[in-house]
């Protein structure tokens, strides 16, 4: 039986946060791949978006962009409060998750509008890219929301103060989800 005690280690960045940062960097490369494919494809086409395809709802999505950004701000507040005031941290966290959900719902409504207007994944490459890029981001929002819910449940069981790294790690992911969105918005919606 091994009874040795592992000596304390000096850590510049805690394990969980560091791991999340590496995951996020791989994710950034994933989106870079999608974006460059999109840009390369777009640069070879004269009429973009294709004439027979509906225009994208710039205004509505713009407002939605703010919703998501605000959700990121709330997340930051939750992290800030988590050390001293766990209850208010929980409230900020809930608000952040709620805004994330709103974002998702609005995007979903838009999708059904676009589908009704005749834009499909196989109606044009434009449609294919639209649904793929925006959908890929949507999947990431869902993953982020699941993490937020996980954080909420966990914090109920053991207050945040005991394991601050978990919340910080999840916030890193959520910031990433929030931060790529404006890039995708500008690239896909303004063309």
């Amino acid at each position: 039986m091994n009874t040795a005690i592992l000596p304390a280690q000096r850590k510049l960045i805690p394990d969980a946060v560091l791991g999340m940062l590496f995951l996020v960097s791989a994710e950034i490369m994933f989106f870079s791949g999608l974006i460059s494919a999109y840009i390369i494809n777009r640069s070879g086409v004269v009429d973009w978006p294709p004439l027979n395809q509906p225009r994208l709802p710039i205004l509505m999505t713009g407002i939605n962009t703010f919703v998501l950004a605000l959700s990121g701000v709330f997340m930051a507040l939750a992290v800030k409060k988590s050390a001293g005031a766990p209850r208010s941290a929980e409230n900020w966290l809930k608000a952040s998750a709620l805004l994330g959900l709103t974002f998702l719902l609005v995007q979903g409504t838009e999708w059904s509008n676009m589908l009704a207007a005749g834009m499909h994944t196989n109606s044009s490459v434009f449609g294919a890219f639209f649904y793929t890029i925006i959908g890929a981001h949507g999947v990431h929002v869902v993953a982020g929301l699941l993490m937020l819910i996980y954080a909420l449940i966990k914090n109920r069981m053991e207050p945040v103060g005991q394991n601050p790294n978990r919340l910080v790690a999840i916030s890193v992911y959520w910031y990433f989800v929030v931060a790529v969105w404006p890039v995708l918005y500008v690239l896909v919606y303004f063309n």
Binding site: T3, A4, I13, M29, F30, G44
Partner: protein, 572 residues
């Protein structure tokens, strides 16, 4: 500062100990065993299509007739399985799991549960690859590089019903590969975080053994390059299952796009496999030359440079895909430049050997074999790196011979060197020396017999991925027909002699000589732990005082100085 914690208790029952274990050593061995199974699959496929090439039309022993469709599927899956399902678990996941925590002097990975999950996902991905052979229409046959439009058009069995679409060749293939990536990503995050955060006291960056450096550089390279391929694969999957037209030129798509995304990953992937194998050599050569590794720091810097360069040379795989000639020049130059860092690493190995008191142990023999073979692979790569030659040799057996001269040494010689070196550590038993030597010569010679002749067939214009070439008059004459047969016989001998290795593993585990803690008189920390290391690895945990390669130091009486030995070495 994290609070100190005591090592977790060793798991008791069979299930938690051998199957659902979170111990990095068990997981590493699980990876390697799975890799061996997949190597048997990949090797069997190679046997079948090699036999078909030498004796076209004849019924293949243990298999039967091979038609063109199946030939394609076998070549494709052979390639993908050997690279991602044999090379990766042997060299990256397997070695990384076994060695990183021990070599940096800690108890386990940073996220043990994540580590266990990564193995199980990997196992599922292997099952998906194998299961793909049994779905209606058979496995995917569009080449391991998955180039559209072939891979996007659903030419291999696409049924109209959604679910049967999904469980057909191309989607299954993509799914298997995607799961492998997920598993690698989880493992990779573990490697990096563990190495950065869990090092023993005194283990400063330039006291870390070369192989740990190389494993981490390889992991970083993987993580940077895999994203774009996943993006490309998602688009390919959508082309297949929902009918988008990303790669379909008729609908405004662009098939060359996939080639870019694929090789952005594919080329770094070569280094992801190469670096750990070089790391193995970097551990073995100093130990058996009794000399410090030459220019240790320099080769770390060099390989960092190579890792950066490796993500900007991808298009040398596409010289004839119709890319801009100015771009081809850029990629030609990049490709030739990237051979400089690796030449540096090889020179360092040579310089380490030079004037050393070399001990011809089993691991050393394998390491020297690796160097010899890889040299041939690397040199022929220089020819192909220049686009003028490549335009002639592209897609011939010259290329096939070239990349087997690089990949086979990397994957198998790297793996065997590592097994012969670390087997005593992880099992507490020595491997049988005589059997090891027989195994070496019966791998080294048949390998050369198999692939050297293919250079000539390639230069004569024999095209790869063609199952039957009776109408090609340039190939259907002597000596090329005989070369085909020689190559196949070599391959069969090569495969059969691997049973010697399996037998050696088996017999040594049961009856082998007991291994002491440090049988090779090495410096690195894993040799200071018990053989096999207990759960938690060290008791007490080590403190590091020296670099990993202090061999034959003038101020020490022994010719080696373990990293955790507190004696003071005088430098002058």
């Amino acid at each position: 500062m994290e609070t100190p914690h005591s090592t977790t208790h060793a798991p008791q029952g069979f299930w938690t100990k051998y199957l659902f274990s979170t111990d990095h050593k068990t997981i590493g061995i699980q990876y390697m065993i799975t890799g061996l199974f997949m190597a048997a699959v990949g090797g069997f496929l190679a046997y079948v299509f090699r036999y078909n090439l030498a004796f076209p039309g004849e019924s293949i022993p243990l298999f039967g007739q091979l038609d063109a469709m199946h030939y394609n599927a076998f070549v494709t899956n052979h390639g993908m399985i050997m690279v991602l399902f044999v090379g990766m678990p042997f060299l990256v996941s397997g070695l990384g799991n076994l060695l990183i925590p021990l070599m940096i002097g800690t108890d386990d990975m940073a996220f043990p549960t994540l580590n266990m999950m990564s193995f199980w996902i990997f196992l599922v991905s292997c099952l998906v690859m194998v299961a793909a052979f049994f779905v209606p229409g058979g496995a995917f046959g569009g080449g391991w590089t998955l180039y559209p439009p072939l891979s996007a058009s659903g030419y291999v069995n696409r049924n109209p019903a959604f679910w049967s679409t999904f469980f057909s060749a191309t989607p299954m293939f993509i799914l298997g590969v995607a799961l492998e990536f997920v598993s690698m990503l989880m493992g990779g995050i573990n490697f990096l975080v563990t190495t950065i955060n869990k090092r023993a006291e005194g283990m400063t960056p330039f006291k870390i053994p070369l192989i740990v450096w190389f494993l981490n550089i390889a992991t970083l390279d993987f993580m940077v390059s895999v994203g774009p391929l996943v993006a490309g694969a998602v688009m390919l999957l959508l082309d297949n299952v929902v009918g988008t037209g990303f790669y379909d030129p008729a609908r405004g798509g662009d098939p060359v796009l996939f080639q870019h995304l694929f090789w952005f990953f594919g080329h770094p992937e070569v280094y992801v496999l190469l670096l750990p194998a070089l790391g193995v050599m970097g551990e073995i050569i100093p130990v058996f030359s009794r000399k410090p590794l030459f220019a240790y720091r320099t080769i770390i810097y060099l390989s960092l440079i190579a890792a950066v360069l490796s993500v900007v040379v991808w298009a040398h795989h596409q010289f004839i895909a119709g890319i801009d000639p100015r771009m081809a020049t850029f990629f030609s130059i990049g490709t030739i430049i990237i051979s400089i860092p690796f030449a540096g690493v090889f020179l360092s190995f040579m310089a380490t050997l030079w004037g050393g008191s070399i001990r011809f142990t089993m691991p050393m023999i394998w390491a020297l074999g690796f160097i010899g073979l890889f040299l041939i692979g690397g040199l022929t790569g220089l020819y192909l790196g220049s686009s003028t030659f490549d335009i002639y040799a592209h897609d011939t057996y010259f290329v096939v011979a070239h990349f087997h001269y690089t990949m086979f040494p990397v994957v198998f010689f790297g793996f065997f060197s590592a097994v012969y070196f670390w087997f005593p550590k992880f099992t507490g038993k020595h491997l049988n020396h005589t059997l090891g030597m027989i195994h070496f010569w019966l791998t080294f010679i048949p390998f050369n017999v198999t692939f050297f002749v293919l250079f000539f067939n390639g230069l004569a214009g024999q095209h790869r991925r063609v199952n039957e070439y009776s109408s090609f008059s340039n190939i259907m004459k002597e000596p090329y027909i005989t070369f085909e047969k020689i190559s196949t016989i070599g391959a069969i001998v090569l495969m059969v002699s691997q049973f010697i290795f399996l037998y050696n593993l088996f017999i040594s585990l049961r009856k082998g000589r007991k291994a002491e803690k440090n049988p090779w008189d090495s410096n690195t920390l894993e040799w200071q732990a018990d053989s096999p290391p207990v759960h938690g690895n060290f008791n007490p945990y080590p403190v590091v005082y020296h670099g990993p390669y202090e061999y034959s130091h003038p101020s020490s009486e022994q010719d080696f100085v373990p990293q955790d030995n507190p004696i003071v070495l005088k430098t002058n």
